[in-house]
Amino acid sequence: MTTVVTIETSTAVAPSRGPRGLVWVMLRVHRWALWFWVLLVAVGAGALLFVHGPGTDAAWSEYRAMGCDSPEVGQACDYSGPAISRLGLANSLGGLLNFVPLLAAAWAGGALIGRELENGTAQLAWAQSVSPARWLAAKLAVPAALLVAGTTLLTLLHRLAWSSAAPLRSIVPWREWYDDDIFLANGTLATAHALLGLAVGALAGLLLRRALPALAAAAVGLLVLTQALGSLRPYLWPVETLTQKGMYPPYTGMVLDDGALTSTGARVEDPLCINDTKCLADHDIVGFYRDYHPSSHFWPLQLVETGIVLAVVALAVLAAFRLLRRRTGAAV
């Protein structure tokens, strides 16, 4: 016969400080993802601070030491050196921000939701005193808060680094404000895209209920969505137009379209006459135009696109909750 020993362990109810309930569970279960995120933000922030301070200073002194700033050398100076390469490397580390949405999508589809549905740990949570809806709310809210905090910090640092490197940009080939990654990292879009990754990942996880397929679907889905949204970007705010007689106006800002103008002001395709005046006259070309976004359009474009992305996030989250509700039939 078995002897059953009854051990009366007097556990004082743990003086629980710190997070409780689902928040504790989230932070504990996804501890490694949390550490990874902290590390990623730390590396990105370090790189951007380096760009902001010592990196740019070192690049300037290197520039002067090579005599590139002396009038004799002037434009002919082919400036490249170790300091500027380091600066470039640090800058691209700061650009890690651009991979955050993809990482968030893959993680949310795979580890956050898909794996839990696949191995039954989601059902384990719902079998406690926690409804599936509250579970999903915590699954989304805790990572969302951490993503917003991290991406906001990185965005602010990126703006700082971007502004301090402005004089340098006039000398060395540098990125423009409207380049996809710069545009994202300098505004609210980085945060919005990170949330989009989270929402798309969660939805994929709930739909597919398996870790690997959900990871892949979330990554592909996010890439398609961000591509589609990115291709809309130029049309989110009215463009400005430059015109000039006889030749193209200067190339500036985010150029969308250019071409030739006839005497009636109609826009026609450039017949590629170059400087052949007879050719121009034959085609009745009197000038040229360029449609573009000046850098002052940065914030309007940024905010309109952020709004659209957040609307998509809201739709994905709503779909996720509805899907979960339909499957479990659970009241909140």
Partner: protein, 128 residues
């Protein structure tokens, strides 16, 4: 205290086994009036049987007047079971019968079958 040993393959209902084993303990003097039977929890913790079975067995013993449940305290033995003493006339008769059976050439199994069949006839309807 008594320890129950449940044989799941015997075909005898579990609660009957508990009743029988309790009576056996009473006959053998392992349980005496005033003794406390194990609680249902103690029994099921040792035997992994259904607690309602234990309660059913105890109710049966109570119905027979062998034990009484005292609320909040447990189940206690009320009276012992008198058995035929070793030198009773019944036993003597049985001994003589067994000797005759053996002389008649019956094997142990034959005697067993015969005995059971007679028991079945005369104690039909009695439980256990």
């Amino acid at each position: 205290m008594v320890e129950y040993r449940i044989d799941r393959r015997s075909g005898v209902a579990t609660y009957v086994q508990i009743v029988q084993q309790t009576k056996q303990a009473l006959r053998l003097g392992l349980l005496e009036p005033g003794d406390k039977l194990p609680t249902a929890r103690e029994v099921v913790e040792a035997t992994a049987i259904n607690p309602n079975t234990v309660l059913k067995a105890y109710r049966e013993l109570e119905r027979e007047g062998l034990v009484e449940a005292r609320r909040g305290l447990g189940t206690f033995v009320r009276r012992g079971l008198n058995t035929a003493p070793a030198d009773s006339p019944l036993r003597t008769e049985l001994e003589a019968w067994a000797v005759r059976a053996r002389e008649a050439g019956l094997e142990r199994d034959d005697v067993d079958a015969l005995f059971t069949s007679v028991l079945d006839t005369h104690f039909k309807g009695d439980e256990s």
